[in-house]
């Protein structure tokens, strides 16, 4: 039969079969249901349900795809499932940590006076009273917050000039000399120093120089800067290295001296990276416990002088509150304070990270027209 009708084609010759758009959702629903059924047989728990459902989903979607779409698409789906699965596995602990700290820490944080009172004069009797009679939990982290901020600030003031100048030497003057190679090697070694060793070093150093039993915020700051310096050197070095040589040559060709070129051209060009590297280094040491414990001790009252007397900090506050509750018979108020302090510490680190991004954006070379 001759016909003028165009032949009705079911499918383009260029494609194979395709799964419908809703396929992943159908498979997901099936996997959840079947997974729940399997778990009901062997004893239900949410974690196992998630794993079984994920395996069923992967197998189901890949199998279906292989039947309809062919091997290449099926492999693609398998890879997608693996990548997304790994991402979820990596994300789970993080979300879990943040949730746990939020849930346990919020009551402490919302306690009136938590941020602006210290533990001075707060005894076990108060805690017993709050547990037995429902009185508000007394005491706060003001002294620890002050200590953490002061110690970290002093550590930064020590580390940034030393670290930045070391990086400048390595990149601009080192020229792969033996001294430069030795510095690079020892910076790498310093990166791996356990933090307690840094604390012992600072304590021993001050015992020898100032006198036995010297425990102040400044000693802790020295211990922290031992941990910070290699991080600052490394990140600044990388940032200085990526400043194009052409900019240095352009400045030299204008008759600018080398130190001025470094100060006015190289460092400003790299400053955004250096600043965010420094902020991340701070975030790295702000939660250190062990070195502060052996260098600054732990105080219950406010001490704003880093150069004399023991000093509290958030990590050591958490440590002592959990290990030696203020009231041994009723440890709950202490653990509430510890979680609250942990939440504050996490918020501090998050703020520092946000600050690093902000600094990077503010200082970044502008390209607007």
């Amino acid at each position: 039969m001759t016909s003028t009708l165009t032949p009705v084609r079911k499918r383009s010759a260029l494609t194979k079969g395709q799964l419908p758009k809703f396929a992943p959702y159908v498979v997901l629903a099936l996997a959840l249901v079947v997974g729940a059924a399997i778990m009901a047989v062997i004893g239900f728990n949410a974690f196992g349900w998630g794993i079984v459902a994920a395996i069923l989903f992967t197998a189901g979607l890949v199998g279906w795809s292989a039947a309809v779409e062919g091997g290449r698409k099926a492999k693609d789906k398998l890879a997608t499932c693996l990548v997304v699965g790994s991402f979820l596995v990596a994300l789970l602990p993080l979300i879990s940590v943040i949730l746990t700290v939020l849930i346990n820490g919020l009551p402490g944080l919302l306690d009136p006076g938590f941020l602006n009172t210290s533990m001075n004069g707060v005894t076990g009797a108060f805690d017993n009273k709050s547990v037995e009679q429902g009185a508000p939990v007394m005491g706060g982290i003001y002294h620890a917050l002050i200590g953490t901020i002061q110690i970290t600030l002093l550590a930064t003031v020590i580390s940034v000039p030393v670290g930045l100048l070391t990086a400048v030497y390595l990149v601009e003057y080192g020229e792969d000399r033996p001294l430069a190679r030795a510095i690079t090697f020892f910076v790498d070694v310093m990166t791996g120093i356990p933090s307690i060793v840094a604390g012992l070093f600072a304590a021993a150093f001050f015992f020898a120089v100032v006198g036995p039993g010297t425990k102040t915020g400044a000693v802790a700051a020295v211990a922290l800067s031992v941990l910070m310096i290699p991080v600052v050197v490394r990140s600044s070095e990388e940032m200085l290295k990526i400043v194009p040589n052409e900019l240095r040559e352009a400045a030299y060709a204008l008759g600018v001296r080398k130190w001025r070129t470094i100060l006015k051209v190289v460092i400003p060009t790299a400053i955004s990276g250096i600043a965010s590297g420094v902020t991340l280094a701070i975030a790295r040491v702000i939660g250190e416990t062990a070195p502060i414990l052996v260098t600054a001790g732990f105080a219950t009252s406010i001490n704003t002088n880093v150069f004399s007397g023991w000093m509290a900090s958030l990590p050591t506050f958490i440590y002592t509150q959990i290990l030696n509750p203020t009231s041994p018979s009723n440890p709950d108020p202490s653990s509430q304070r510890a979680w609250g302090a942990a939440l504050v510490l996490i918020i501090l680190v998050m703020l520092l990270n946000l600050g690093a991004r902000l600094i990077a954006r503010i200082f970044a070379p502008k390209t607007g027209r």
Binding site: E249, A250, A251, V256, P365, T367
Partner: protein
């Protein structure tokens, strides 16, 4: 305000490697001298010895004399910074300072050296330099904007403005047009023509037509083979070099038989 350069028996080394051998050349004041030759023959290396930029590279050194109006650049006690403030340089790729505005880029030579200058003087210098680089009309309304937002050709002219703002005696240009389109190249070539009224200009170029268009004198460099040092083969009036060279290699090169 321009000086002549005389080079006597100059050998240029990278470490132990002899890169350019035994160059003798006289560069006249207020003229344009072009260096031509195949890649790797040492034109740029030689150019960088004329304002002591060569020694910025670790291990690089020279033997011989470069005389700027009779004063040896490589004499004992000569400060390379003084040399470079008298002999400016424009590079192959435009390299404005990314952290600075257009205005600050022009003033970089002054500001980076912490010389004090009143705002009026600075404004006049910015306008004079940008006029000199044929860029003033294009950027006068956006002097506070970053220099990296300009087009490639404008950036290169900004770099020339930056170089002439320090009022050098000599301007060296290392293939200033090789990263630019024909229109921008034409703008730079016109500029070179204007510059030679005030400055001694030395330009390295791959483009023989460009050398023929802009230069008064041309020097031809060549290399015998890889690993051998580059040599100055012939130098003379541009017209002579392109129409009636004395050396066979020059004739082969300018007529396009090799290179």
């Amino acid at each position: 305000m321009s000086k002549r350069i005389d080079v006597k028996d100059l050998n240029v080394y990278y470490g132990k490697f002899l890169a350019v051998e035994d160059v003798n050349i006289n560069i006249e004041a207020k003229s344009v001298t072009a260096f031509i030759g195949p890649s790797g023959c040492g034109k740029s290396t030689f150019l960088r010895t004329l304002n002591r930029m060569h020694e910025v590279i670790p291990g690089a050194r020279v033997e011989g004399e470069v005389l700027l109006d009779g004063d040896n650049l490589y004499g004992p006690g000569v400060d390379p910074v003084t040399v470079r403030s008298q002999i400016g340089m424009v590079f192959q790729r435009p390299n404005p300072f990314p952290t600075m505005s257009i205005r600050d880029n022009v003033l970089a030579g002054v500001k980076l050296n912490n010389q004090k200058m009143s705002k009026g003087e600075a404004d006049a210098l910015v306008e004079r330099s940008l006029q000199g680089a044929n860029l003033w009309n294009e950027v006068k309304d956006r002097l506070a904007k970053p220099g990296s937002g300009l087009s490639g050709g404008q950036q290169q002219r900004l770099c020339i403005a930056r170089a002439i703002a320090v009022e050098p005696q000599v301007i060296l240009m290392d293939e200033p047009c090789s990263a630019l389109d024909p229109i921008s190249t034409l703008a730079i070539e016109d500029l070179i023509n204007d510059l030679k009224d005030q400055y001694t200009v030395v330009i390295v170029t791959h483009n023989m037509q460009q050398a023929a268009r802009v230069s008064d004198r041309t020097a031809f460099f060549n290399i015998a083979g890889t690993g051998k040092p580059g040599k100055l083969i012939e130098v003379g009036d541009t017209h002579t070099i392109f129409s009636n060279p004395t050396q066979k290699a020059t004739e082969d090169y300018v007529s396009g038989r090799f290179g």
